[in-house]
């Protein structure tokens, strides 16, 4: 039995430490297991580590599970885990003077030590979210890496995951087969045991229509990124169905808070009132998104119920008039090609309130340059963009997008009070206190409206009815360990 996944892009490499790419992660995660993982509710649970404890603000201790075997039959030890972590965090550890591009994901990890079957991680400063980052770091075999080197690891796999690599047909497919000596994965996620299917294939089909066609024709069993407008088609097909899961990516429109027009909060509020979010969610996204009023997804840690601006064109016009624009404003709204439709729809809705937004579609790289948060005199008006939050921890999304001058602060929003709150939250070890801090922060941004917060779309998968036991996961992993076919 085999499951085929129609997948948007190929892995860049199969070396878990040598990429910064979500799709690559998705594929690799079926071959390698992590120290920790997440269950269906996005809770962090142990995987290769049996358990973990935070022994001090700056140190964590992981107990490594016994009896785990790599695909080549060797045992996985605490040394391998240390090796893995060192490879990720030590400068130049990849060989050839190269440092893992994932180093920054492990933040202030300072050193890793082994004590029997325990691995002790020491941080240079308190960093409570370390466990949240560990599900995306996979354990490699020390002896194997020493044998094949980083170059070999790019294409060869000796993981501890449920599947072994059979063949990587670059650009075309990744073929895997069941690893019969698999330890069973995290016991917190039932059912533990070997993978259900004999073979798993990730088939790369970048073109959306082709991917859907492949699903409909039975060429593949699961496809990712099913467009909302294809849902009915997939559902009306007797052999296929649709599965959705709340996503982790927040969409918003950055308003240039340093700019001439949007430095006025009234104008920003006007935009928020002018936007009929539910219309667009219904019509363009097929209802597959959750509205947000702050940056956080409702599922994220510390998220709270916030007052909605509400669609009210008259109010929007009134606010504009108050701000000195009785005839409305002419603005440009930037976006990438992928969201053209949505943004055009947004623009047409905004127009009804006198916000005449001209849509400019541009390449992601160009937009990144144009909306550089470090820019002194930013030129843009509005920027439809998004920020992913796979960890569902506010730290990963709130700080970059809202802290003054931070990497994702495309609104050029600067509020010292908020900065202070965020800084405090980052190092607060007590979960409840942290949550309260973020709540407060969310109230501030909801009032300041540096962005128009839009929605968190659901991830939509097309799934063949043959497939049983598989559920999409909110961090957009496609974990095929539990999936079976009839």
């Amino acid at each position: 039995s085999e499951i085929r996944v129609g997948f948007t892009t190929d892995a860049l490499t199969l070396d878990p430490a040598n990429h910064r790419n979500r799709e690559t992660e998705t594929i690799i995660r079926n071959l390698y297991d992590g120290i920790l993982t997440r269950d269906g509710d996005m809770e962090i649970v142990p995987e290769i580590a049996e358990s973990w404890t935070q022994t001090s603000p700056t140190s964590f201790e992981f107990v490594i599970r016994q009896g785990i075997k790599f695909h080549d039959g060797t045992d996985l030890t605490a040394e391998d885990v240390k090796f893995t972590l060192d490879r990720l965090t030590v400068e130049g550890a990849m060989g050839d003077g190269q440092t893992s591009p994932r180093k920054s994901l492990l933040g202030p990890v300072d050193s890793v030590a082994v004590d029997g079957n325990k691995v002790i991680v020491t941080l240079s400063e308190p960093w409570p979210i370390l466990p949240a980052m560990l599900p995306v770091q996979e354990v490699v075999s020390k002896s194997f890496v020493e044998k094949v080197g980083s170059a070999g690891l790019a294409t060869e796999v000796n993981g501890a995951g449920p599947f072994k690599l059979v063949e990587w047909r670059k650009g075309d497919s990744v073929i895997m087969e069941r690893f019969d000596d698999y330890y069973g994965g995290s016991p917190d996620i039932a059912p533990a045991g070997k993978a259900c299917v004999d073979r798993v294939i990730f088939k790369i089909i970048p073109e959306t229509a082709s991917r859907v066609a492949a699903l409909l024709s039975g060429d593949v069993d699961i496809i990712n990124e099913l467009p909302p407008f294809s849902i009915s088609q997939v559902e009306s097909n007797p052999n296929t169905g649709v599965m959705t899961v709340n996503g982790t990516r927040s969409f918003f429109i950055a308003l240039n808070n340093k700019g001439e027009i949007f430095d006025d909060i009234k104008v920003r509020q006007a935009v928020a009132h002018a936007l009929d979010k539910s219309l667009i969610v219904d019509r363009i996204l097929g209802g597959n998104a959750v509205s947000i009023e702050g940056i956080l997804s409702p599922a994220a840690f510390g998220a709270s119920e916030l007052p909605a601006a509400g669609y009210d064109p008259d109010k929007a016009k009134a606010l504009l008039a108050e701000a000195g624009y009785p005839d409305g404003i002419d603005v440009v709204i930037d976006t990438e090609g992928a969201h053209k439709d949505t943004v055009e729809a947004i623009a047409s809705v905004l127009a009804k309130s006198g916000i005449r937004a001209k849509v400019e579609v541009s390449e992601g790289a160009l937009l990144k340059a144009k909306w550089d948060p470090k820019s002194e005199a930013p030129q843009g008006h509005m920027y439809f963009t998004s920020w992913g939050n796979g960890s569902l921890d506010p730290y990963d999304i709130f700080v970059p997008t809202h802290r003054s001058g931070d990497r994702g602060n495309t609104a050029y929003y600067a509020n010292p009070k908020l900065d202070e709150l965020l800084d405090k939250a980052s190092v607060e070890l007590d979960a409840d206190k942290r949550a309260a801090l973020y709540k407060e922060a969310e109230t501030i941004i909801n009032a300041d409206q540096p962005y128009v917060y839009l929605w968190v779309p659901k991830d939509i998968y097309g799934v063949s009815k043959r497939v049983k036991g598989w559920k999409p996961s909110a961090d957009s992993r496609i974990n095929l360990h539990d999936a079976c076919v009839e």
Binding site: A209, Q233, D341, A345, E360, V361, S362, E363, A365, L366
Partner: protein, 297 residues
């Protein structure tokens, strides 16, 4: 002592007129020229012809099928796109972009190409070396990659699309002109002009250029078809004209995602491209047959 025959031609018409009249005899080509004219009229008078506002979105008409299908409306003959805009109206407006880009790119490229080709072919020497090597270099670049790179470099916009295409397009007329110039420069009438004391400029512009023009004219029309498809390809890759402006290429490209559920979104603009390019090709073939004496049979 090879002898040439001494026919006495009857009618006193210029070669251009004669070629034109032979073009007119070609009914298929003439028909195409008429269709082309219809397209041009459509483009020019789009606001008066289009049944709907091509930019008017109506999310409740999203992906509405063509009129003759269930759920269609006669006011929206060819159905609506993903934002509920009338496809027919967008096609009518899109003719503006496609024809504009096709014409402007080809005219600009042809003018550059003629100048460069004449200079290379007539002046020879280092001018030729420089131009020819440049041509070689540009030919070695895959066209689309070059255009994509340029678009990435210059950013989006209609003007940039034109530029990105012209940067490479001129090479083709340049090669043709250079080749023709090399042939023509050896002819005795060029030598005659030199013997009379004509300057190089005079010879290039007055003696050689008119004689290479017909070849270029033919190439230009053929290229126009290609340029329209290229613009469409750029749009397909997301580097085309800006929304909400409709270009046929971007309509096809945008619609291809819906092809399974709403085939009309990309099919009709696709047919429009096909038809326009087809008539340009037929007309240009007719032109070539008429103007290139080698095709006189």
């Amino acid at each position: 002592m090879s002898a040439v025959s001494d026919p006495v031609p009857a009618a006193a018409v210029s070669p251009f007129r004669r070629n034109l009249s032979s073009f007119k005899e070609n009914r298929l080509a003439l028909g195409s020229a008429l269709v082309l004219l219809v397209f041009v009229i459509m483009a020019v008078f789009a606001p008066w012809i289009a049944p709907q506002d091509p930019y008017e979105t109506d999310l409740f008409r999203r992906l509405q099928p063509p009129a003759w299908m269930e759920g269609g409306e006669w006011g929206y003959l060819l159905g609506c796109d993903a934002l509920g805009r009338d496809i027919l109206s967008r096609i009518i407006y899109g003719a503006r972009i496609s024809i504009f880009i096709g014409t402007v790119v080809v005219i600009a490229a042809t003018m550059i190409g003629i100048m460069a080709g004449l200079a290379a072919g007539y002046l020879r020497g280092w001018v030729d070396v420089v131009i020819s090597r440049l041509v070689d270099i540009l030919l070695g670049f895959p066209y689309l990659i070059f255009a994509i790179g340029l678009m990435a470099m210059m950013g989006p916009g209609l003007f940039n699309i034109v530029l990105a295409l012209v940067y490479k397009e001129w090479v083709i007329p340049c090669r043709v002109v250079r080749g023709e110039t090399l042939a023509v420069r050896e002819l005795e009438y060029v030598e005659a002009a030199r013997a009379l004391g004509a300057s190089r400029f005079h010879i290039m512009i007055r003696e050689i250029m008119p004689n290479v023009l017909s070849a270029v004219l033919v190439v230009a029309t053929i290229r126009m078809a290609d340029v329209i498809i290229l613009e469409a390809s750029l749009s397909f890759l997301g580097l085309g004209v800006q929304p909400p402006t409709a270009s046929w290429g971007s309509m096809v490209a945008d619609g291809r995602a819906f092809i399974l559920e709403a085939w009309w979104v990309s099919t009709f603009p696709g047919l429009a491209i096909l038809l326009l390019v087809l008539v340009i090709n037929v007309a240009s073939q007719g032109l070539r047959d008429a103007f290139d004496p080698r095709f006189h049979e």
